[in-house]
């Protein structure tokens, strides 16, 4: 773990949207174990995420990490709807292929960033560090 453990109050509140259960399992492990994030929700697609958000959860995420390719509402739908209805929440999109056009499309739609998924999903630690470096200045309260 590169980052120091943060005071629970200062951890970044994150929600994960990923349709592959196995992958999601390892993501949750890495985000949870990093000590810099507080995982407050995990969802299989956009439909599940928005059902949850629509029910006014007590704590809203500061950051949503979403896969792009999912059944039902996919990553693009997540980016659009969050930008439209929850502009205070940042969205980072992930995918197995890095295509410049895809990255541009995501950013145009309102995503904070587009990141390539790790080579194998059993090793999300360095991915989690990259996400932290990307958003800590804006989202970590001192």
């Amino acid at each position: 773990m590169v980052q120091a453990m943060l005071n629970p109050m200062n951890k970044i509140k994150v929600a994960i949207v990923e349709n592959d259960e196995d992958e999601r399992f390892f993501m949750v492990q890495s985000f949870g174990g990093a000590g810099t994030f507080e995982l407050i929700g995990e969802f299989g697609n956009g439909d599940q995420l928005f059902d949850w958000l629509a029910n006014a959860p007590q704590v809203l995420p500061q950051l949503i990490v979403t896969d792009l390719n999912m059944p039902g509402k996919n990553g693009y739908d997540v980016i659009c709807e969050v930008a439209a209805h929850y502009p205070q929440i940042q969205v980072i999109a992930t995918s197995t292929s890095f295509i410049p056009a895809t990255r541009e499309k995501c950013q145009r739609m309102g995503a904070r960033e587009f990141l390539l998924k790790p080579d194998v999903f059993i090793d999300y630690d360095s991915f989690v560090s990259r996400v932290y470096e990307l958003v800590k200045d804006e989202l970590v309260k001192d």
Partner: protein, 635 residues
Amino acid sequence: MPITHETAFEQLGEGFLILDPTGKILNCNTAASKISGYLFTELEHQPFSLLGGADLDSIKYQYELDRALQEKKLIVEGWKSKKDGTRFWCEATYTAIFNESVHSGFLVLLRDVTERKQIELQLLQSQEQYRLMVEAVRDYSIFMLDPEGHILTWNEGGTLIQGYIESEVLGRHFSMFYTADDLLDKKPERGLEIARATGTYLEEGWRVKKGGSLFWASVVMTALFNEQNKFVGFSKVTRDLTDRLQSEAHLRNSEARYRSLVEQVADYGIFMLDTKGRIVSWNEGAKRIKGYTADEVIGKYFSIFYPEEDIVSGKPPRELRIARATGKYEEEGWRLRKDGSPFWASIVITAVYDQDHRLTGFSKVTRDLTERKMAEQKLQESSNKYRQLVQDLWSTNRQLTAVNRELEEFTAVVSHDLKEPVRTIKSFLRLADQQLRQSNLQQALVSVDKGIRGTQRMQELIDNLLNYTQVSKTDLKYQALSLSGIIAQVQQNLQEAIRQSNGTIRTEISADDLLADQVQIIQLFQNLISNALKFNEAPSPTVTICSWYEGDQIRIQVADNGIGIPEGQLEKVFGVFRRLHFPSQYPGTGIGLSICKKVVERHKGKIWAESQPDQGASFQIILPLNGSSNVESHE
């Protein structure tokens, strides 16, 4: 034996020389040495200006070569000298030669036209007098004769010159103005004969005034033709030259200069008409363009140049009326040459007035634009052709761009979606590896099992992809099909799925005929119907297929009582590998509807989905009925 260029060159009747860029003679044919009187060996390597005679007028020759180079082609007429010093009137046509746009010399064509020139010079003289008369009409006695020579009209000039008033002469024979000697000589009759045969009779001689005194008269008799070119009599113009000889000589000189100018214009036919439209003068250009010599046309009504329909519609006199009223008449149109062949003419008719502003006739300038028109037409045709080509290229380009974009999107989606299971397999292999190292056999077996499932999914994706590509690649075989027959076939294929889902297929087919590719249409309905059964939670899934005609299209609807499609996803369902549900819930790769869309689009039709909450989904299809007449364009 075939004719070679060399033989043709050698035997050409016209003199032919090849010059280098500086004007030195490189080669010439027999005719050229014959015309010039020089042997080939005497001409070779000599400047072309050698033919200019003793004075070696090389400046003029250089000037002509320069012009020929500038204008590519130049025709010059003038005197040239033979070896023995005799002159000959020669028409020289220069053509600049280019070899891959580098100037490499000149071709010169020589034609000895001495005889023609002499005829022209004679003509010039005979017309000079006539022209003088037309321009000074008020000093002339002008009257008309019937074909036998009886006086029909009289004018003021006649009263002044001959001394008779109108009533004294009308109806009398014009021989009354001749001397006794001339009458014995039958000069009046001979004058009429000549005028009738050649168009004009010119004479200067003594004539008798009223009271018997003599005056030196210049006489022109012109045969008159009406608008149908029928001979109707003569005009006779008489002038008293007794005390006007000096001024006439002066006029003659300035006229001669003007005349030679007009004469030598070869590109324009320039000639004069009298007030009635009869031709009174003629130049070289007119001769070249229309093919008539001066003798053949002078005195004729100018309508002889017009096609029959123009004559019938009264166009020639109308043009003169307009020129008279407005001063000028201009147009382009077809005219006829002597040999009857048409040429495209640009003409300008200008009314000509004398010093007292009386109309004395018309000048007519004619230009042969046939070649220019043809060139313009060719240019237009080729321009049209290129425009068409550009349009074709544009549309091809648009199609290619569309195909490219589609291909790009497709490649992106496919590479991405194929990569996903590969990554899954790799991940589980790495996980199994870790677990085996920790001797965690049970967990490792689970990971291996999940990895195998990843390979199965990969295989499915590749199979479907091949299937999809096949739909776009294969040529369509259009044939007349029966929709109910197709549905029956699909029901047969899906027998097992229908039985397992406890489903029912209903048809309400009002439009049965369609023109389409059988294999693809079966695939279309098979995908739609199996989807309708799959995405269905009803105890007895029902699929209803309706069809009806809409104009020259057939509309087909496939409706079900299944789970429906959320409003925002209606268009997305057609995307490649696009799924709305987790595979655990409704298995599939998300390619079925992409194939349906591809099939319909290849048949130039449209497909879209409709869904009302809790009322299932319906797929709407429109296909053109004249399927085979559509050329495939965006494949």
